[in-house]
């Protein structure tokens, strides 16, 4: 039992932190995610300084590169029932959240070395899409790939989502993609050597209105056609699955037992490490400043570490994609919308499925570590790249959750954060070639469910890119459809 603890909340030892640093995680945010330090009940109060000291003694790490992790409110564990007492004006527009940017220039963590001068493929965005694609390209022999990520791995929506994976969708295309993704997730640990903690506890959708109930019934019939065995349940049957639920006002429920939750972060590390082993370069803390085009092609990607000449550019920057596309004069119809989320104290397992009320956008599940992780969309949320947290969300979510599960009233919120949905006009992604710039490939617009789609989408995209064989996915969801008006709307979006 000889261990020196750096984070007693999560039993993270000095050795764990040293291993993470040796693996190349040399910023506090990455060490936090890789080791789990600072994610417990004290939220970093007792451990952060000790970890920062270890990092600061690492050769090559300057004190200016030792930045604290973002302190997430609340600073003290706070009961849901207390947060629920705050009155909220539902008509009000949610405001800017906290923490507000401190203006720390990203240069503090930017590597001093230049990026490669040339690459066959440059992928903009080191989220799950970009990394999964890089891995799948490398697996197919295309290893001259550079992935550019402006922050640390997990900094964007891939590191901020609730980890839900489900086959219950409203269109055949999405049902099939999700089914394949879950299949690949089951093989992930074997292939990558890293656990992702897939737990298939099911998804339980609740309908509080007739209209939503009809949508669930219609979609369940579609699921069954795809051999996805979604069941429509009466409120009493739903309570059998989650005895703690209050089902007042619930019309019916839809349940599919093979849906579940995963732990998002290891996906990124797993894909990145596997791709790097095959020669892919993953360049974190590297900003894209420009896309140089001529004669109808993108010729090079300008970064803050120099230009990269390339044959193909893949735009997989999630909610930041429209901004990057603009650098090449391309207009994307995507709009970023903040979605807030929180995590509670860890409890012993009691909740099997992820529960979602489709009417309000409330969803919650229990993570492998025991925390209740959940969020709720805000119909008034304006478009914008905002990732701050609001007290308004805590109050709205706390009220909605404690109404649905009253026994959670005294359960305490540990931290709240937010990420951006990358919303398209028909709730479906943008995939394939860009009109007028055929070597700029689109891979964005996943409306909050990119994480669960990434394994399957990346597999097909890599196959399509490497073999050149036609795949209807890249015509069905191409950018042109918005001009031609051939839209097929996805109606199973949470929030």
């Amino acid at each position: 039992m000889s261990k020196a603890l750096l984070c007693p909340c999560e039993d993270v030892t000095l050795g764990d932190v040293e291993v993470a640093i040796a693996k190349g995680y040399r910023d506090v945010e990455s060490i936090k995610r890789y080791t789990g330090f600072g994610t417990g009940i004290c939220q970093g109060k007792s451990c952060l300084t000790a970890v920062a000291q270890v990092l600061s003694r690492t050769p090559g790490v300057a004190p200016s590169a030792v930045l604290p992790f973002t302190p997430r409110p609340p600073t003290h564990p706070t009961e849901l029932s207390i947060l629920a007492t705050l009155g909220v004006d539902e008509r009000e527009v949610p405001s800017q959240g906290v923490p507000v940017s401190s203006g720390d220039s990203s240069t503090a963590l930017r590597p001093a070395t230049p990026v490669p001068a040339r690459a066959q493929v440059v992928i903009v965005g080191g989220g799950v899409m970009g990394l999964a694609l890089a891995h799948n390209l490398a697996k197919r022999g295309c290893t001259d790939v550079v992935v550019l990520e402006k922050g640390y791995l997990c900094a964007g929506a891939s590191g901020r989502n609730g980890g839900g994976v489900r086959m219950q969708w409203g269109t055949s295309a999405n049902i099939e993609l999700a089914r394949r993704s879950i299949e690949l997730m089951k093989q992930f640990a074997g292939e990558m050597g890293i656990n992702i903690w897939l737990r298939q506890g099911g998804y339980l959708f609740l309908a509080r209105s007739r209209a939503v109930a009809e949508r669930l019934e219609k979609n369940a019939r579609l699921h069954n056609q795809h051999a996805v065995r979604t069941e429509i349940l009466s409120p009493d049957k739903a309570r059998d699955l989650v005895p703690e639920l209050s089902l007042r006002g619930v019309v019916l429920a839809a349940y599919h037992p093979e849906d579940g939750v995963i732990f998002p972060w290891p996906f990124l590390w797993g894909y990145a490490q596997a791709a790097q082993k095959r020669g892919v370069r993953v360049e974190t803390f590297t900003q894209v400043l420009g896309l140089q085009t001529s004669d109808g092609l993108v010729r090079s990607v300008q970064t803050d570490r120099g230009p990269i000449a390339c044959d193909t550019v893949v735009l997989a920057a999630g909610a930041w994609s429209p901004g990057v596309a603009r650098l090449a004069g391309v207009t994307l119809p995507n709009e970023p919308h903040r979605h807030e989320i929180l995590s509670t104290e860890p409890l012993k397992p009691f909740l099997g499925p992820l529960v979602s009320v489709l009417d309000s956008g409330l969803y919650f599940s229990q993570s492998m570590r025991g925390e209740i992780v959940g969020g709720m969309g805000d119909p008034n949320e304006p478009a914008g790249l905002e990732q701050g947290s609001t007290l308004r969300f805590l109050a709205r979510f706390a009220r909605a959750l404690t109404e649905q599960v009253p026994i959670l009233g005294q359960v305490k919120v540990l931290r709240q954060w937010a990420g951006c949905y990358d919303v398209t006009p028909d709730n479906n992604p943008i995939l394939g070639r860009t009109p007028g710039l055929p070597n700029l490939l689109q891979m964005s617009g996943f409306v909050g469910h990119g994480f669960m789609m990434a394994p399957a989408v990346a597999e097909r995209m890599a196959e399509w890119m490497v073999t050149g064989n036609a795949d209807e996915l890249f015509t069905r969801f191409n950018l042109e459809r918005f001009a031609s008006g051939k839209l097929e709307r996805e109606d199973m979006i949470i929030g």
Binding site: L5, L48, H76, G193, I407, G409
Partner: protein, 443 residues
């Protein structure tokens, strides 16, 4: 451990600690009652089921979390004792003293790599996921839904001051004298910070309680410095007789002087029950009248270490060793470092490396870690202030000018949040920041 001040008979109550009666003084934190009664192990840790006891007594670690009257994960250092209260240890089977899952700690001396463990091994992977899920989590669901909560309260003022320690009180004095309306939030039940509960400092200025234009809310913990359509506001949790209550404080300026958190020192077995932060020990002795050890080893550096050694000696303890980890040891301390703590369920000795004399074992009944607090930068950072790491002394601090102004115009900081320092200098920084605000608001 013993009580230096006996419990007054009219306040003597009994707590139910897993069937054992524990004497307590009504209203004191239950962690204090348990320490005074000699109970060391209050919890088992999440992953390795290591024994845990109180460390910081300031709700800034997780080592005293207990189930109290059917509610999980409460800080025993924050729960006021009431007669008959039921205290239960969590995450242990069959009991916290003899926990079979502590075998995990012995079986994996180099730790468990949850990323790679059984990854992709057929069957084993599924079994592990099942086992891990059942071992994970801390505490069972609450027994009951929450009682009715009082509605949230809202206040508006000129300056919101966070922290009623040396810096916050000095600021309050200046604001009060100038007639600037302010609200001061203090998370403890009483104002004073280290004046009341810290190690005595020779040059500490006298305690000045706010007068004049100020309003004080004690037992009120700031949760976040948020914004909404009406501007910036503090959200806080206020412990009130009618129950905990959400408090919103809107102000045109925010002066943040929340002090810091007790840092841990990474020696082997630094989480053993009996390893206590220096501020926890001075708080126990001065405010609670409980001496937590007769023969402690003190380790650390900074202005509080000698004061703490003095306080413990004055209270009847006989420190086994005062170990100063800095390059220039304090008077009465020896230079060196702590290698490891020993003991099965509580500290019984330590191995130290004394400069020039090598390693040796020292018997003791507690380890007191006295380090300068880690600046509590959270609220300032919420608002957008910059936080920098200083290689010397090796901690983060909020960046500010001489008047405590951050890069956010309406947010100023004072005291330990600028980097841990003496009470006198913390008070001076509070006065400077408040002075700057008075001048600004007069314009």
């Amino acid at each position: 451990m013993r009580r230096l001040v006996p419990i007054p008979p009219e306040r003597r109550i009994s707590l139910d600690f897993e069937g054992t009666a524990v004497p307590a003084q009504e209203g004191e934190p239950v962690a204090v009652s348990l320490i005074a009664a000699g109970h060391d192990v209050l919890a088992r840790s999440v992953k390795y089921h290591r024994p845990r006891g109180p460390f910081c007594l300031a709700a800034a670690c997780s080592q005293c979390l207990m189930r109290v009257d059917g509610t999980p994960n409460l800080y025993a250092c924050r729960v006021p004792a009431r007669a008959g209260m039921r205290l239960q240890r969590q995450n242990s089977y069959p009991s916290a003293k003899v926990d079979v899952f502590s075998a995990i700690d012995w079986l994996f001396p180099r730790g468990l790599d949850h990323h790679a463990m059984f990854a992709g091994v057929p069957v084993a992977e599924q079994v592990m996921a099942r086992v891990a899920r059942h071992l994970a989590g801390l505490g069972l669901l609450p027994e009951a839904a929450a009682p009715e909560r009082p509605p949230a309260e809202s206040l508006e003022t000129g300056v919101a001051v966070v922290g009623g320690g040396a810096a916050g009180l000095a600021a309050g004095e200046v604001l009060g004298a100038a007639g600037v309306p302010f609200v001061l939030l203090e998370r403890e039940e009483a104002l004073g910070g280290r004046w009341r509960t810290g190690a005595p400092e020779p040059e500490a200025p006298p305690l000045a309680l706010p007068r004049g234009s100020g309003m004080v809310r004690v037992a009120t913990t700031a949760l976040g410095l948020y914004t909404d359509a009406r501007g910036r506001f503090l959200a806080a949790l206020s412990a009130r007789p009618e129950g905990p209550r959400l408090l919103l404080v809107r102000a045109s300026r925010f002066l943040l002087a929340p002090g810091g958190h007790a840092p841990l020192m990474p020696f082997t077995n630094n989480d053993l029950p009996g390893v206590l932060s220096g501020r926890a020990v001075s708080d126990l002795v001065r405010r609670r009248g409980v001496l937590p050890a007769e023969k402690p080893v003190l380790v650390g550096h900074g202005p509080e270490l000698p004061g703490l050694a003095w306080l413990l000696r004055e209270s009847g303890a006989r420190p086994a060793l005062v170990l100063d980890t800095s390059a220039s040891p304090a008077r009465g301390a020896v230079a060196g470092r702590l290698v490891s703590a020993h003991g099965r369920t509580r500290v019984q000795g330590v191995t130290v490396d004394v400069a020039g004399r090598g390693r040796r074992k020292v018997a003791c009944d507690a380890v007191v870690v006295s380090l300068p607090p880690s600046p509590a930068y959270e609220l300032a950072r919420h608002a957008g202030a910059r936080v920098v790491f200083r290689a010397e002394p090796g901690s983060f601090a909020v960046e500010a000018d001489g008047d405590g102004r951050t890069r956010v115009p309406e947010v100023l900081v004072a005291g330990d949040v600028l980097g841990a320092d003496t009470a006198a200098r913390a008070a001076a920084s509070g006065r400077r920041a408040a002075g700057a605000l008075v001048r600004e608001m007069a314009r």
